[in-house]
C-alpha cells in the first residue's frame, strides 16, 4: 500500500511540534474516566430524565417540529397504527418497508397495512433474502418505517444504531420516513447520547458498532440561489410519532 509509514508520519508531526514521543502532559479528563465513573454519570442522567419526562417529551416535540419533522403525539399503540394507516393511504404507495426492531412488537402494524393492499417488507435476511434483494425492496418502497434507538430533545433528532433488522438505507432511500419514538428512547442532550455510547463502548469491549446516525428533519439543500428544496437525496417527508 502506498503512503507514508505510520512511524515516519508521526515522527514528522512530533518534529513540527517540537515534542517527544510521550503522552500529553496533562491527561485528557474525558479519556481518563473509568467505566464506573461513566456508569455513575449515566445513572444521574437517567434519573434526571425520569424526573422531567413530560417536559422533555414536550421539548422533543417542539425541537423536532423546528427541525422539520411532522410530529404526531399518540398515547396508545392503536393511535399510532391508525395514524400510519392514514399516512400510508394518502401517500399512494404500494410498498412499505420497515425495520425489524422490537418497537413493532408493541406497535404491530403489518396487518393494517396489508389490509390496505400494501406490500410490507420487513428487514429479515434468510436463505432467499440477501443484502442485494433487500436493497432493491427498499428502493421500491414509498415509505420506510423505523424505530429510534434514541430521540434527542435538545436537537429534535432521531438516532439509529446498527441492529440486526435495521438497514441504514430504510431511513434515507424511500421518499417518506416514519420514525417511531417511545418515551423510553428519550435523551435530553448531545452529551447524554455520547456519554451513553461511550459507556456502552467500554462495556462491549471497545465495540462502537459500525454507525451512529442522526436524522433531523427532511433531506434538504439550498445550493441553488439559497432556495431551500426538500427531498433532494433523502426523504422529502419525515414523520416523528411520539408514543407516550
Amino acid at each position: 500500500m502506498p503512503g507514508t509509514p505510520k512511524a515516519e508520519f508521526l515522527q514528522s508531526v512530533r518534529e513540527a511540534l517540537g515534542r517527544e514521543n510521550v503522552p500529553p502532559i496533562e491527561a485528557y479528563p474525558r479519556l481518563a474516566e473509568t467505566p464506573s465513573e461513566l456508569e455513575q454519570q449515566v445513572a444521574q442522567m437517567r434519573q434526571h430524565i425520569e424526573d422531567n419526562l413530560p417536559a422533555l417529551l414536550d421539548k422533543l416535540a417542539k425541537m423536532a417540529a423546528l427541525g422539520g419533522w411532522r410530529v404526531h403525539r399518540a398515547s396508545r399503540p392503536e393511535d399510532v397504527i391508525e395514524y400510519i394507516e392514514t399516512l400510508a393511504r394518502d401517500s399512494g404507495t404500494a410498498n412499505v418497508v420497515r425495520s425489524n426492531q422490537d418497537v413493532f412488537n408493541q406497535i404491530p402494524l403489518d396487518a393494517t397495512l396489508t389490509n390496505l393492499g400494501l406490500t410490507v417488507t420487513t428487514v429479515l435476511r434468510d436463505e432467499t433474502t440477501t443484502r442485494e434483494s433487500l436493497r432493491e425492496e427498499i428502493r421500491q418502497s414509498g415509505i420506510g418505517i423505523t424505530g429510534a434507538d434514541y430521540a434527542l430533545a435538545e436537537t429534535g433528532s432521531v438516532i439509529v444504531l446498527p441492529r440486526k433488522g435495521l438497514a441504514r438505507l430504510i431511513s434515507v432511500v424511500p421518499p417518506v420516513h416514519i420514525a417511531l419514538v417511545r418515551a423510553e428512547d428519550l435523551l435530553e442532550t448531545l452529551d447524554d447520547l455520547f456519554l451513553l455510547r461511550r459507556l456502552e463502548y467500554h462495556q462491549q469491549g471497545g465495540e462502537m458498532g459500525s454507525y451512529l446516525n442522526f436524522i433531523t428533519g427532511p433531506s434538504r439543500t439550498a445550493d441553488i440561489e439559497m432556495t431551500i428544496v426538500e427531498g433532494v437525496h433523502g426523504p422529502k417527508e419525515v414523520h416523528m410519532i411520539i408514543l407516550g
Binding site: 515534542r19 479519556l31 434515507v172
Partner: protein, 491 residues
C-alpha cells in the same frame, strides 16, 4: 493538486468586484447564512454561545498540541474496528492510496460526498485518468463538477451560479430541456444520482471530525448524499486533513452545536453520520471495507509555526467568509485556490507556498469581523499580519508583495510618525503646499472641493490614493489643539 492561481489575485479580484451577478449572489449568502446565525446565537444567548466556543477551542488547542498522540490513538481504534488508516504526506501520496484501492478492488463507479480536502488534492482528475466514473453528489458540487469549476464557498460551493446558469448548464451537459425551476433541477439531480448511489462500488467522503477514542468518522450533511455515499457502496474511503482528529466522542457535543449554527444558521443539520469501521457481520447493509486517509500536505508547516498553528483549529464553517467585507465583494474564485475568504488567505499561502500567494494576506481590511464570528476563536487578523510581516521582511525580494519604492516610503513614514519634531515640520510643510495648491483653483489637481483629496492619481502613491479619499490637512492638528487648549498645564 489543482491549478494554483493565487498569483492572479489582484487581477481576479478587480474583475470580480465589477460583476453585478456575483454581487447579488454574494449578498444572498450574506443575508441568508449570517442572519440565521445571529438568530441562533440570540436563541441560546451569547453567554452560552461563548461558553461553547471556549470549550471547542480548548479541545482543539489540546489536540493540536498533542497531535501525534491522538493520531496514534486514532490509528489504534480505527484498526480495532476493522478499518484501515493511511497516512499521506502530500497530495500525490493520498491520490496514490486511493488509486491503489481503486485498482485492487476493481472499482468502476465512485460517488463522492463533499470534501474540501479532495478538492485540495485534485483527486477527481486522478480517478478519471484511471477510467473510473466519478460523481459528485452534493448538489452544489455536482453543479460545479458539470461546469468544470472549483467551489467558491466552503459551505455553498456553487453559490456563484444563478438558477439560469444552472438551467443552461443542465441543458448543455445533460441534454434536457431548459427549465429554471429550482425544485425541478434538484429533482433531476436526485434522479440521476440515485442510480449512481446504488451502482457505485466506492463511496468517498470527507470528514468533519474523527474521534480518536473510538476511531469514528463524522460527517455532517443536509442532503443525505453523505449517508448514501457511506452506506451503499461496498468500499468507503474517508479523506481528511490530519488536524480533524478530536480526543473523545463526547467532545463532539460542542462542535455539533457550533458548526451547523455557524455555517448555515441551523440548530443541527438533517444528517450527522458517524461511521466506525466497515459493516459487521450482523449488519444489514454498509460497506465491506473502511479506509481513512489522513493528509499532511503542508499542514505540518502550520504546525511548526507557533504564529500560524491555530489555523489548524478551523472547522470550515464558512462564517468568516460570510461576514468578510472583502470576500463578500470578490467571492471565492478570486482567491485562486481551494480555500477562500479570510481563513483561505491564511491557509492557502501555507499550503501552496507563500511566494505564490503573497497577495492573499493583503486581502483583508483587518476589521476583525472574522475573529469575532469564528466558533473556535481563531485570530485570523493576527495571522494575516504575521504573514504580511513574513513577506515584508523576507530577504528574498521576490517574496515581498510591495515594490521597493513603497518600502522606502513606508520607512520614511515610520520615521516621520515616530518623531514629533519631524511630524510637526511635515504638517507645516503640508499646509504650506496645500495653500499654494488652493491659490490655483482652476488647476487644483487634488482638492477639488477644498476638503477632500479624491480619486487622486498621485505618482508613486496612486495604489492608495486612486481608491481612497483622504481629508486635507486641518487648520489645527490635534497636537496643536491639545497644546493650546486642553493641556493640563493650562489649569
Amino acid at each position: 493538486m489543482p491549478e494554483i492561481k493565487t498569483q492572479d489575485f489582484t487581477a481576479a479580484s478587480t474583475a470580480a468586484i465589477l460583476d453585478p451577478k456575483l454581487r447579488r449572489a454574494l449578498d444572498r449568502v450574506a443575508e441568508g447564512f449570517h442572519v440565521a446565525r445571529l438568530d441562533r446565537i440570540e436563541e441560546v444567548t451569547q453567554d452560552v454561545w461563548d461558553g461553547w466556543k471556549d470549550q471547542a477551542r480548548e479541545i482543539k488547542v489540546h489536540t493540536i498540541e498533542n497531535l501525534d498522540y491522538y493520531l496514534e490513538l486514532l490509528d489504534k481504534n480505527v484498526t480495532a474496528a476493522g478499518g484501515q488508516l493511511h497516512f499521506a504526506k502530500d497530495a500525490d501520496e493520498a491520490n496514490e492510496i486511493v488509486a491503489h484501492i481503486v485498482r485492487t478492488r476493481n472499482i468502476k463507479i465512485v460517488t463522492k460526498s463533499k470534501s474540501m480536502v479532495s478538492e485540495e488534492l485534485g483527486l477527481n482528475p486522478v480517478l478519471e485518468a484511471l477510467g473510473v466514473e466519478v460523481w459528485e453528489t452534493d448538489l452544489g458540487e455536482y453543479i460545479i463538477q458539470l461546469a468544470e469549476e472549483t467551489p467558491s464557498h466552503l459551505v455553498a460551493p456553487a453559490l456563484h451560479k444563478s438558477k439560469e446558469d444552472v438551467a443552461a448548464l443542465f441543458t448543455e451537459k445533460l441534454g434536457i430541456p431548459y427549465d429554471e425551476d429550482i425544485y425541478h433541477m434538484a429533482a433531476t439531480a436526485r434522479t440521476i444520482l440515485r442510480d449512481k448511489f446504488m451502482e457505485a462500488d466506492l463511496g468517498i467522503s470527507g470528514a468533519n471530525f474523527v474521534v480518536a477514542e473510538t476511531g469514528t468518522l463524522v460527517i455532517i450533511t443536509n442532503e443525505g448524499n453523505g449517508r448514501l455515499c457511506t452506506s451503499a457502496p461496498r468500499v468507503h474511503i474517508g479523506i481528511t486533513g490530519m488536524e480533524k482528529v478530536i480526543p473523545s466522542m463526547q467532545d463532539l457535543s460542542a462542535f455539533l452545536r457550533l458548526l451547523p449554527r455557524s455555517a448555515t444558521g441551523q440548530r443541527i443539520t438533517s444528517y450527522v453520520s458517524m461511521t466506525t469501521g466497515p459493516r459487521r457481520s450482523d449488519d444489514e447493509d454498509g460497506p465491506e471495507e473502511f479506509h481513512l486517509i489522513l493528509v499532511d500536505n503542508g499542514r505540518s508547516k502550520m504546525l511548526a509555526d507557533p504564529a500560524l498553528r491555530e489555523a489548524l483549529y478551523c472547522i470550515r464553517c464558512g462564517a468568516c467568509l460570510n461576514i468578510c467585507p472583502v470576500y463578500s465583494r470578490i467571492g471565492g474564485h478570486a482567491y485562486g485556490w481551494v480555500y477562500p475568504g479570510p481563513i483561505g488567505a491564511v491557509v492557502s499561502p501555507m499550503l501552496v507556498g507563500l511566494p505564490k500567494a503573497k497577495e492573499l494576506p493583503q486581502a483583508s481590511s483587518l476589521c476583525g469581523a472574522c475573529r469575532e464570528v469564528c466558533p473556535v476563536n481563531i485570530d485570523i487578523p493576527k495571522m494575516l499580519l504575521d504573514l504580511r510581516k513574513k513577506t515584508a521582511e523576507s530577504p528574498d525580494s521576490s517574496l515581498r508583495s510591495a515594490p521597493e519604492i513603497e518600502r522606502v516610503l513606508a520607512r520614511l513614514y515610520a520615521k516621520l510618525m515616530s518623531s514629533p519634531k519631524l511630524l510637526k515640520m511635515g504638517v507645516k510643510f503640508g499646509r504650506f503646499a496645500q495653500k499654494l495648491e488652493r491659490m490655483t483653483p482652476v488647476f487644483s489637481p487634488l482638492t477639488t472641493d477644498g476638503k477632500w483629496i479624491r480619486n487622486a492619481h498621485i505618482p508613486i502613491l496612486s495604489r492608495w490614493t486612486k481608491s481612497r479619499d483622504l481629508p486635507t490637512l486641518p487648520k489645527q492638528t490635534f497636537h496643536e489643539l491639545w497644546e493650546k487648549e486642553l493641556s493640563p498645564d493650562d489649569s
